[in-house]
Amino acid sequence: MREREARRSYVRTRNIIISPVLDGKKASQRAMILGIRHFTDRIGEGIGQPRFDSAEGEELMHVQPGVAIALGRLLPESPGTLYISNRRVMWLSDTDRDKGYAVDFLSISLHAVSRDPETYPSPCIYTQIEAEDAKDDQFEGSDAECPDESYLSKITEMRLVPHDPNQLDTLFDIFCQCVELNPEPLEGDDEENSWIFGEDFTDDGDQPEWHISEDLANPIGQVNGNHDLAHSVLHLQINDQRFEDAEEMEDANHN
């Protein structure tokens, strides 16, 4: 938890706040692939291990041997080893060097620990995947031993079944950390406005039209006694079209 706290700290100078959005920028430059895909890029002798994209800052976070994987409604495949990097989850077969799957944390919508034998026979990490080509009819899918790429791209559920159920909570926590390391990539290239709020931004001659004053910020910002939050809120002055929908909201409130 301490590490997570540290990562979420903001870099501040007197009047400039730079958000961790820089990570998002970096992420947006990567090829974004939604959903599950085959993974065969192994290095090393024997069954090998996955090749990480270290040039892009990919690092191994956790290795969990003895994990079966069940994609959608397919039967579980095992034995395999789970490799979790700061960017993606990889499952590699222990017996077939050409068999493996990978999914980016950016595609993992939801993860949870599932222990009820009535819904699934083995305790597992249950995940929902944002798929490139999500269709409800995936559940009609075949029991093919080796699903092809188009089938993979429709899969919206993945279960990871560790041989040792005691590992479930650890895996859950690692997933939480990694999701936080992968914020949504930004859209657009308007870099200056997107992550720097400085004096220039507010001293351009126009009166800021929208300002969170202290009396508004405090009742909300003082939650948990976190004065830093309230402090950073006070810096915010907005004067652009980003609130152009506000009028209709006002209408909605009156309706």
Binding site: L216, L229, D245
Partner: protein, 125 residues
Amino acid sequence: MCFKCEFYINPENDIVQVIGSMLSCKELVGFEMLFVSYFKELVGKEVTVELKNDLAIRSILHSLDQYLNIELENIGVVDPEKYPHMLSIRNCFIRESVVRHVQLPPDGVDIDILHDATRREARGA
């Protein structure tokens, strides 16, 4: 634009919905922090999180991070017939970008503050 914050307040039953497209915005640091601190006040309360795939989860808000990724505990699925596989799950972690709505508990919301915030916003438009 990508930043959008909508409060819907029904004065009759005090149900408040916050529309979640602001959840994926990293541009307005200060404003986002306002939302994070606001949502943190709701930890421990019951919320209903509706995902973009129409899955709605009614649950206790366990925690959330700076991006408004949400962790829920003691979850129930609003439509268990459609999503039976979610029934067995007690805790889950939801990526911020797939959240569509968060429905807040009436007692967790200060209507006056929200009214004030939305009016200020409307005036600025």
